[in-house]
Amino acid sequence: MGPPALRGVLPVLLACAGLAVLQLLLGGLPFFVTLASMVGINVILAVSLNVVNGMTGQFSIGHAGFMAVGAYAAARVSMLLNEVAISGLPEAVSNQVLYAVALLAGGVAAAACGFVVGLPSLRLRGDYLAIVTLGFGEIVRVVIQNTPPQTSPGFWAMGGSLGLTDIPSGRSSLFSTWLWAFLVVLVARRIAESSHGRSLTAIREDEVAAEAMGVNTTAYKVRAFVVSSFFAGVAGGLFAHFYETISPGSFTYVRSMEIVVMVVAGGLGSTTGSIVAAVFLTLLPEGLRSGFLALGGQAAAQVAEQVRMPIYGVLLVVLMLARPQGLFGTRELWHRRKAKGAAP
């Protein structure tokens, strides 16, 4: 399709147009926007985690930590730039530009953390890496909890346990959230289909063999880690600007687990799977809520609110028992013709 120079940009342009239409049509329905934003953020988180957990076969359960770094960095940058307007641009546009800057800052901050954490710890194998990432997530949370209130001077005033509550409002939009979701999918797909991706797959299938074949495993693993944490940071930034208030309680290891669940439920290594599982698992709790309301009315719904989480747990178990390889295995929607054997 078209000259190669255009091929990289074309999908993004098309997505922009589509998303702009979506924004115009549905941007005024708050509940839809809420659901769509939650879904978008979770898609970014799941797809980015899949790069590490699925494609590279490493096991990170500290994604919420990177998300937190991104969320706080982006929020703080946004707060600092709140009084700034880019001259020559209408305020709304200038705000969006600053928003993009803040998101990038969040992503870069998270990526830097990913690098720092990844470089030494990726020499660890499987479960040990998992526990280090989990530890990293918890450390980030504790550090944030110990920061001074947001009214104190300095960039590092992250608000302690109350968190940041003055994040500029009105920045978040369906357009930006889903554009980033689109970008992460695009990047993940490109990675998977490049030689880079083949190296990652080699590492996943057999690290020793990959090393023997001349794959610099540490370098590839660290790179996968950095890409993954960059997008987690962006997702954090989107999260912060959507809710306009963040606190350490939003980034516990339970959230990391939720993202891992999405990746595994969708099928490790399958970007499509991550997307589908993120969409499904994000909507599921709200769906259960609606279901109970519709079936039993007010009284049943009140009881059901307390049963929701145990049911979610049961569903997880059932899903895994019924389809242990996840919904998609390692397949992708765009792989129809290539008959790819499922990974062991």
Partner: protein, 397 residues
């Protein structure tokens, strides 16, 4: 097998769809759109639907459940007395698992899917803050029963609360400790995970020092911890004559027990988070002779308070209400009162009615909402003695 995923998605969409259809009209009736023209169809038009978001599961669940019981009682009484202007009042409750983002989502859902007129908010300030942003944006009034952090009502002019704020409560205890108990040297043990606790600590430290006292040291724990011995040993070495523990009763009982086990004889001081019968079960003799600030005194002669306590006991098998239940009861009643007085059931009109609340005779004391939408009311100091809390002093704002 490839069809499984789309099928699951379709199922989820269907489940969501179920609800949409039911409350279609309220979804189009934008809450902000001035006087209400269309009545929501999901609840028949002779009922008035309120929303509530609370932590019914998760680490904060006991507080969420107390709050729900208080609100339930208020609505039951209101409906028995003929409802609001002839309409039956119902409340739709969503659980937020103690997470701010879930609280915000639930708020959006209440406003846009269920078409509620007013939202009764969370206990934890962090969750209320997340909700407040969404409620303010949709111009739907929100009343939080017990989020005491100052910043909550600063989110906008649709956000109210029926409790006093941290600065006042911290000041009240500092004053009582310094002037009545004549304490010189007070240590603080704060819950680092809760904004409520760190907020009170900040104020107490400053105020107590201003009044000439000395703050010996500040140690912290995280809500849900069960071993406070190292912190307490560290505080013990400062030999304080009082320890201020602005936490929740779920932790305080245990802290008191361990403090006494370590031989700490200092007076224990606390805030309204202590108020619960559970405190005496969990703390036993260890909490005897402690003091805490509260919104009301259970043995106050105020008829509104006594009526509330009697009704609550009757409804919940003799359970004694905690302060969260009392505040939730007040939040619901203040809201119902405003709904009765409101010119129409539109957001701005309800807000105006709420803002005019004056000398409301609540279960947790008389309250007036000030221009910052906070309740101004005196704090009482209670003393624990003989396995119950009784009135010790009143501190006026």
């Amino acid at each position: 097998m490839r069809h499984l995923a789309p099928a699951l998605l379709a199922a989820a969409a269907l489940l969501l769809g179920c609800e949409k259809k039911q409350s279609q009209p309220s979804a189009d009736g934008k809450p902000a759109a001035g006087p209400e023209v269309k009545a929501p169809a999901a609840p028949p038009s002779d009922t008035l639907l309120l929303g509530e978001v609370g932590s019914l599961t998760g680490a904060e669940a006991t507080f969420g459940l107390s709050t729900r019981e208080g609100i339930d009682l208020a609505l039951e009484q209101a409906n028995a007395a003929g409802g609001v202007n002839g309409k039956k009042v119902e409340v739709r409750v969503y659980d937020d698992q103690g997470k701010p983002d879930e609280a915000a989502n639930a708020t959006v859902r209440l406003i846009n899917q269920d078409g509620v007129k007013l939202i009764l908010g969370e206990v934890a300030s962090t969750n209320s803050l997340a909700m407040a942003g969404k409620a303010q944006a949709a111009k739907v009034p929100m009343v939080t029963p017990s989020s005491t952090n100052e910043t909550v009502t600063q989110k906008g002019d649709y956000i109210f609360r029926v409790c006093f704020i941290d600065p006042f409560q911290g000041y009240a205890m500092a004053k009582f400790a310094r002037e009545t108990l004549k304490l010189q040297n007070v240590a603080v043990l704060q819950d680092n995970k809760s904004a409520y606790s760190t907020g009170l600590t900040e104020v107490f430290k400053v105020r107590f020092a201003e009044m000439g006292g000395k703050v010996a040291g500040v140690e912290s724990y995280s809500k849900g911890d069960t071993d406070f011995r190292a912190q307490l040993s560290s505080l013990k070495s400062q030999s304080p004559d009082g320890i201020y523990i602005p936490g929740y009763y779920t932790d305080v009982g245990l802290i008191a027990k361990q403090a006494r086990q370590l031989g700490i004889q200092a007076v224990l001081l606390g805030g309204d988070g202590w108020e619960s019968d559970k405190l005496f079960e969990l703390g036993g003799e260890a909490v005897e002779n402690s003091y805490y600030t509260n919104h009301y005194s259970p043995d106050s002669p105020n008829p509104a308070t006594q009526k509330f306590i009697a009704a609550y006991k009757a409804k919940f098998n003799g359970k004694v209400p905690d302060s969260l239940a009392a505040l939730a009861y007040d939040a619901a009643n203040v809201s119902l009162d405003a709904l009765r007085r409101a010119k129409s059931l539109s957001g701005p009109d309800i807000r105006d009615a709420l803002a005019q609340t004056k000398d409301f005779d609540g279960a947790a004391g008389k309250l007036t909402l000030d221009e910052k939408r906070n309740a101004t009311k005196p704090a009482v100091v209670l003393k624990v003695a003989g396995g119950k809390a009784s009135y010790a002093a009143t501190v006026n704002p």
